[in-house]
């Protein structure tokens, strides 16, 4: 594409801009508009029904834009269809597991799941220990395999967080059920 140093590998796994994900926000916007208008029609156009006078300025454009994107998706990006941009880079020579491993959505879901896990850790073992554990697990998930450097980095960062928050800013960090 550019004659430059590499190839576009973005297309491995699923194309980033699938039709489904492109539709999420317009559908949500349209649904909200319909519910809002229904609410206004039922409850009347007054101050106590969620400020219709102001929200009409937000909700109506939201509804119109959502309708445009749902009925005429090419209006959003008429020049280059998304699938065309990514399909060329999809490689057929990778195994099923490799594709799953490299799938964009697997990685995104993994990062978010890791953060949810961090919330759970915070509840039981506090932020400092939980954060360290999260860093180790996330590092492994992202392919880091060297404990020699990894452990000192984790310990150093947690010590720095404790120093900055607990000591300098006097912001108490969340402690777990075990008081750590």
């Amino acid at each position: 594409m550019t004659g430059n140093t590499g190839t576009n590998t973005h297309g491995r796994g699923q194309p980033l801009q699938s039709k489904l994900i492109q539709s999420v926000f317009p559908v949500a916007g349209l649904a909200f508009t319909v519910i809002f208008l229904f609410n206004v029609l039922n409850l009347g156009f007054n101050e106590t029904t969620a400020e219709p006078a102001l929200f009409i300025f937000i909700v109506l454009p939201l509804g119109v834009l959502s309708l445009i994107l749902i009925w005429w998706p090419r209006a959003a990006d008429p020049a280059v269809p998304d699938r065309e941009r990514t399909a060329a880079a999809v490689t057929a020579d990778t195994s099923r597991w490799q594709r799953l491993y490299e799938n964009d959505w697997t990685i995104s879901a993994g990062v978010i799941a890791g953060l949810v896990l961090l919330l759970v850790f915070m509840h039981f073992i506090g932020l400092l220990l939980g954060g360290g554990l999260f860093m180790a697990l996330m590092g492994l998930f992202l392919g880091y395999r060297n404990p020699l450097y990894g452990i000192p980095i984790i310990v150093g960062l947690m010590a720095l967080i404790w120093l900055v928050f607990e000591y300098l800013l006097e912001v108490p960090l969340p402690k777990g059920l075990w008081g750590i």
Partner: protein, 559 residues
């Protein structure tokens, strides 16, 4: 004049100077790390700034902004890895110079051009601020409401690749800003019965979720696929002497520096025109005015001057609409506005009228940061290259933990961490679907101001819509809004017919980077002949020989 001196007094306090220095060093580091951006760094540091005086926090953030804008040029020149779309333009001529063994000279050219462009931009911005402050006094609620709508319309239309998606993102941002209590009546709306949302959606979880965590997630995709490491082993062989040559080269092109600085200033004044678009426009103008346009893209220092001189001037110009009107120019300035709001200062002309000293202190801090780039840049250039070797699978978990800690520290509620995750999911889905997140954030930041002024104007005008168009300023603003909408519709029609322009080229450059296409694309960069293929097409195998990897990181979403 008193505000100017008061602003200077605020700046020359030892604490403020220390924060400028600290911000500059952080900015240098951030600009070198693929995937990081000034907006991300400011977002992560936003919770910390609540614990220091506001002027210190703002000085830190603007210094980060200035430092990042400069240091982004280094990986673009040496490695052909533009860490943000704005730096892609610098790589057009910087990387070919590096391939010819003139990397240090190119960095020298970039440094002086950045500093001079920044000083021009901020210097004129300082002059513009005073008349704007007096004009801003004439603005009432209806004018402020229209300004917020204009700002949102411009940003929604310009940021990202599709105005429709940009507008939708902005409308959703306004809607999110509407959650919580009505500022006049106190009636709660859209809070889902959550007590934690009665005061509205807090900025910090929104900023951290939409930017820091979303950005890290997209970076993680590349880190795990192994398509990106930031550890190429390349050193500057030419040394300090070549850097001095670079400084001299820039000094020999005063007209080019002045032109790019002025262009950057003008581009900075227009909300939504990001660094990438501004740099490409400056590059196109620089090329058209050059005596050797055919050498642009093959390692012409004038190309670097055009890009870098403009880049830092945009930062200066962008402060004017933010401080005078409360309209953020980009994601970074939106985070700066969030900092003001969190300290109880309502964005808008109020900043200049009630906190004029602070506004000038911010501009002076940016000015000082730009001045310090020259000596600090010389001292730190070689060590800074080491930073590009940071492993992403260490960087990403570190940033994620700091973001979570930051979101918790703001109100010390685990609910805010959960809210950060919700915004992260929204950010990931939006970016994956091609919706820009910047308009949403700006909608969240501008929403309360827009709502409050709308309600005030409606009360004053006794519910008459005509009140919003009653004063001469209202009429001018309404005409501007209409013109902007017509312009966007016209552009969309032109684009459907395959006609492009420089603004579109800037957008496409950003888009190509987000899709993982390596390096800048000169064919897109400047419409017209002789774009100079060597800028993006170095000799075959050169990158592999230097230990470079295939794809650059996705640039941040900030314009």
């Amino acid at each position: 004049m008193s505000n100017v001196t008061a602003g200077l007094e605020l700046l020359i306090q030892p604490g403020t100077l220390l924060f400028v220095l600290l911000g500059l060093v952080i900015g240098f580091l951030v600009g070198l790390i693929p995937g990081m951006s000034a907006a991300n760094a400011c977002a992560i540091l936003l919770p910390f700034t609540l614990h220091v005086p506001l002027v210190h926090g703002l000085a830190l953030m603007v210094a980060i902004y200035g430092g990042t804008t400069y240091s982004m040029a280094i990986p673009a020149i040496v490695l052909n890895i533009p860490t943000e779309a704005g730096a892609a333009c610098t790589a057009l001529d910087g990387y070919p110079m590096a391939l010819k063994g003139r990397a240090a000279e190119a960095i020298g050219v970039a440094r002086l051009a950045s500093v001079t462009g920044g000083i021009i931009g901020i210097g004129i911005a300082l002059v513009l601020l005073t008349p704007l402050a007096s004009a801003a006094l004439k603005f009432g609620p209806s004018e402020l409401f229209l300004i917020a709508v204009i700002g949102m319309t411009i940003i929604g239309g310009v940021v990202g690749n599709s105005p429709v998606k940009g507008f939708l993102s902005g409308a959703l941002g306004f809607l999110i800003a509407g959650m919580g209590a009505n500022p006049l009546t106190g009636i709660t709306r859209l809070s889902f019965g959550q007590v934690d949302l009665f005061d509205g959606v807090p900025f910090i979880p929104a900023v951290l979720g939409l930017f820091a965590i979303t950005e890290m997630t997209f970076l993680a995709r590349r880190a795990r696929r192994g398509t990106l490491t930031s550890g190429p082993k390349i050193t500057l062989r030419s040394g300090m002497g070549s850097m001095t040559d670079g400084l001299r080269t820039t000094a020999q092109h005063p007209a080019a520096v002045l032109r790019s600085g002025l262009l950057g200033l003008v581009m900075g004044l227009v909300p939504g025109i990001g660094h990438s678009v501004a740099n490409y426009i400056s590059y196109a103008v620089g090329k058209s005015r050059s005596k050797h346009p055919e050498t642009f893209g093959t390692g012409n220092p004038e190309g670097i001057i055009a890009s870098e001189g403009c880049d830092n001037a945009v930062s200066g110009g962008s402060m004017v609409p933010m401080l005078a009107l409360g309209i953020p120019h980009s994601a970074t300035t939106a985070v700066l506005l969030s900092a003001l709001t969190l300290h109880g200062i309502q964005p808008g002309p109020n900043v200049l009228t009630s906190h004029g000293d602070l506004a000038y202190a911010v501009l002076f801090a940016l000015f000082l940061a730009n001045l310090l780039i020259l000596p600090l840049g010389v001292l730190l250039s070689l060590p800074m290259l080491m930073v590009t070797r940071v492993r992403l699978n260490i960087l990403i978990p570190t940033v994620l933990v700091v973001a979570v800690v930051g979101s918790y520290a703001y109100r010390q509620q685990v609910f805010d961490v959960g809210l950060t995750l919700v915004f992260a999911v929204i950010g990931i889905a939006m970016r994956a679907g091609g919706f820009p997140v910047v308009p949403m954030l700006i909608g969240i930041v501008l929403g309360p101001t827009a709502e409050q002024n709308f309600l005030l104007a409606r009360t004053i005008g006794r519910g008459q819509v005509s009140y919003f168009f009653s004063s001469p300023i209202d009429k001018v603003l309404a005409a501007i809004l209409l013109a902007i909408l017509i312009l966007f519709i016209r552009q969309a029609i032109r684009r459907r017919h395959g006609k492009s322009n420089v603004i579109q080229a800037g957008r496409d450059a950003q888009d190509s980077l987000q899709l993982g296409v390596a390096g800048p694309t000169p064919a897109m960069a400047v419409p017209g002949p002789a774009a100079g293929p060597a800028g993006a097409a170095p000799e075959p195998g050169a990158a592999e020989r230097d230990g470079l990897r295939a794809s650059p990181p996705p640039p941040s979403d900030s314009p």
